[in-house]
Symmetry: C2
Subunit: 232 residues, 2 copies
DNA sequence: CGTGCGATTGATTGTCTTCAATAATGGTGG
DNA sequence: CCACCATTATTGAAGACAATCAATCGCACG
């Protein structure tokens, strides 16, 4: 397990001492179904995943993306069935740790317990930001790209402002409550403005500062800590 | 402290053994400001409060309502500064418990710790439902009324389908990302449809089943457990 | 008795959706 | 190897929904 998404590496080390196994989930398949009561804590090792709910009319709302190092099912600690599903956006390698062991580790180490809390608070803060941002289509697209850029940068997957963006425009729309048609137009507009170039599932941000200013993005809610510099 | 919003009364009892004090916050004033690092866990004793963020353009987004028994600042357990503010929708009585004592109680009692987790998961599930519901103005207004009804019913504040709804139409709009004008029109429409009557800060639902079906409301995400029957 | 807040209604504008058609791409089976 | 198909992206035209602008009303309060 390379990356555990917990800020303090000391707490991450606790996780690494627990036994884990890896499963493979193909693109578009569910990692966890709604209503599941997972016995494991899941971590995305490689690939992208997304939380989503299905509306009565059949449409889908993505409520969060999960990138390598993110955990899916911390809620399992409370032993509640999942109220939403989690799908693989790309082919995924998913590590899993028996939840009992995580609970035991949390009981033993207050610092580890706080790290789990902090992880949940980041999820929650992100949901609030998504709610707050859902006003203007153009800038919410830009803001999402900024968020993904910041998170990918923190795990070293950004190179000179460029990164792989495996989500389809339809999935971006599902995340932002926009039609794929409108996402396409907004991306076109952002490209014309020289802020973001997206093509063939690759994104490039020529001027990060300009983009972040334009869409009022501030990465503080992600609590990424000191990230590895993006250039490599 | 009458009501602590934790499902299992045994865990609630743990809280009740901790020393607490009560502060008064007048309507429209902040209970907690953005960036605050509260030393206390706050509980709404009486009144309504709301979490909110301010956008760059000055507009406000309400990301959740807090009713009597709800806790404001569980996140304080992770000792992170608040990323959003909390305001009093009505005059509020707010109880507070030193956060150190809560942390100590959680360390001692795994069941209490799980109860805190569950509380956070409900907040998170609610945020996801708000995101998912933000598609159709009419039904999102109806859904919000249903949510508030269900939560108020669980604390015995609903009588024969009627309850006090102290939020202004502007605040409802801020919660749903709608203008107050449009909220007004949607409420008018719901009234015409015989689903909800709102007037003078009082709401009445003539046929709960019909309303819940119409807006696809299912209270499960609130984890209210066995509620007190509404008739009294 | 004015003042301010909240609710209500009308008219107009604009954003986003819907419907539709085409193009580009990659994978599959014959 | 290539024809076929599914998926994704792209663009145009029309329509729907919600925002904006603006005015009035009712009411509580000083």
């Amino acid at each position: 397990m390379q990356n555990v998404g917990l800020i303090d590496s000391k707490e991450a080390a606790t996780l690494l001492t627990l036994p884990w196994s890896v499963i493979h989930v193909p693109r578009q398949k569910d990692i966890l179904r709604i209503g599941a009561s997972p016995e494991y804590l899941y971590f995305i090792e490689d690939g992208w995943a997304a939380r989503y709910s299905i509306r009565r009319d059949g449409s889908r709302r993505i409520t969060g993306f999960m990138l390598p190092g993110d955990s899916c099912s911390i809620h399992a600690i409370a032993r509640e069935p999942l109220d939403h599903a989690i799908m693989a956006v790309t082919d995924c390698e998913v590590a899993r740790i028996p939840v009992d062991l995580v609970i035991a580790a949390a009981a033993e180490s207050p610092a580890f317990s706080v790290a789990l809390w902090r992880s949940k608070l980041i999820d929650e803060a992100t949901l609030r930001v998504w709610l707050t941002n859902s006003k203007d289509a153009l800038w919410s697209v830009a803001h999402l790209i900024c968020e993904l850029h910041a998170r990918l940068d923190a795990i070293g997957e950004v190179s000179d402002g460029a990164f792989v963006l495996p989500a389809t425009q339809e999935q971006i729309g599902d995340a932002l409550n926009l039609t794929p048609v409108h996402v396409n137009r907004m991306l076109k507009k952002l490209r014309s403005a020289g802020l973001i170039q997206v093509r063939d599932f690759k994104a490039f941000i020529p001027d990060l500062q300009a983009l972040q200013t334009a869409c009022a993005f501030s990465p503080s809610y992600l609590h990424l800590g000191v990230s590895t510099p993006s250039r490599h």
